[in-house]
Symmetry: C2
Subunit: 229 residues, 2 copies
């Protein structure tokens, strides 16, 4: 655990009143406050990967929501904690959206604190990937402390779903504009560090809306029926 | 096998010269010629399902091809047998498309005869689904004869991928406008009756671009690693 500084960071977003952005440097730090200090090094070496971590940690995804009635494309996860009435004040009329879309958006809701902790977890996982850059010692120690990681846990990052190693190089590769590595959820309904990790895009697509446990049960059933044939 | 009448059927499509539409009633039949005589009954009882069979059997799919450089949304499968040069005469410039899109379109190419035989196979599979309407005896006999189906093969239609029964009722249900049953290919590269069947949408999505054999190998590997944990 890290005792974060938590001083407020100014924020001119229209959603600023919903969650106060805070400093996540250790309490008593010197120098300027910073919301994502653990991403400073990665932002310098691989900005797109650092931006992806921030985006996936804090924003809902918007895969197929391109039609007008399908809801906002991406929105801060903590905004989705507000009631339908409160959202009206922000110009978001949930009653205009189809029930399936509302349910999906609500499933992606998370507190600001969980989103920050997810970003920390994802940053750790990125640095543990084969071919990843090495973090400065200070960031390595910060991440370990923030996550309570035992030395034993310094293992190669694997896809949460197929359990094969995930190479950092896959962030650069892309198929039809789609990254080959995606952020995934062991249970798609919860966005917190225990539940979040990385997966191959094809594994994430195969898991779909199922929990990882249900996914393993499902493919075990398929194999059983297939082998009986 | 059925000895088809094969008399030409008039066709005002701009692609008419590529494949001559023909009559698929038995040779020596009485009455008017018909291209899809085996779909006559289903068109009367469940037009949308009959139209889906025709469409999936004869047209390429167009899932994500909505951008201008991503190619035509749906096109007759036998048009994709033409060379790039021949396609230019039809206003289709394959050199404008990304290589991945071209490969996908070319994989979906099939002869007119294979498309008709796929339609016959899919019609048989639909009638063998739990809760499907019963075909008139003449259509039942036609389908059996056309497919060389043994009486033993009169079994419930199952999802080609997960091997669970597919209820006809699932054609009516839909999630976000997407049917719950899709036409699938044991090997996505070949469109012929042996290789085509029906699958749950979620199973088809999970199989992705893999052959069914590769898919089973893939999930077996996942389970093996998962169980080792």
């Amino acid at each position: 655990m890290i005792d974060f500084c938590k001083k407020p960071i100014s924020n001119r977003s229209k959603y600023a009143a919903i969650a106060q952005k805070r400093c996540h440097l250790p309490s008593g730090h010197t120098g300027r406050c910073s919301e994502f200090p653990f991403l400073k090094h990665l932002t310098g070496t691989h900005k797109r990967v650092a931006d992806k971590i921030k985006r996936d940690a804090t924003m809902t995804t918007g895969a197929a929501w391109k039609s007008d009635d399908a809801g906002p494309n991406r929105i801060l996860r903590w905004v989705m904690l507000l009631s339908d009435e409160e959202l009206l004040d922000y110009g978001l009329d949930m009653s205009n959206l189809r029930p399936g879309v509302v349910a999906k958006l609500r499933d992606k809701a998370a507190t600001y604190e969980n989103c920050i902790n997810v970003a920390i977890k994802l940053t750790w996982l990125v640095y543990q990937m084969p071919h990843a850059p090495s973090p400065p010692q200070a960031i390595h120690d910060y991440l370990k402390l923030a996550l309570d990681v035992e030395p034993l846990d310094e293992v190669e990052t694997t896809c949460e779903i197929c359990l094969l190693p995930l190479s950092f190089n896959m962030f650069e590769d892309a198929m039809r504009g789609k990254a080959l590595i995606e952020t995934c959820h062991k249970d798609p309904r919860y966005h917190n560090p225990e539940n979040v990790g990385f997966a191959h895009r094809e594994c994430n697509i195969a898991q779909g809306a199922k929990s990882l446990e249900d996914f393993y049960d499902w493919i075990a059933g398929i194999l059983e029926r297939y082998q009986r044939l």
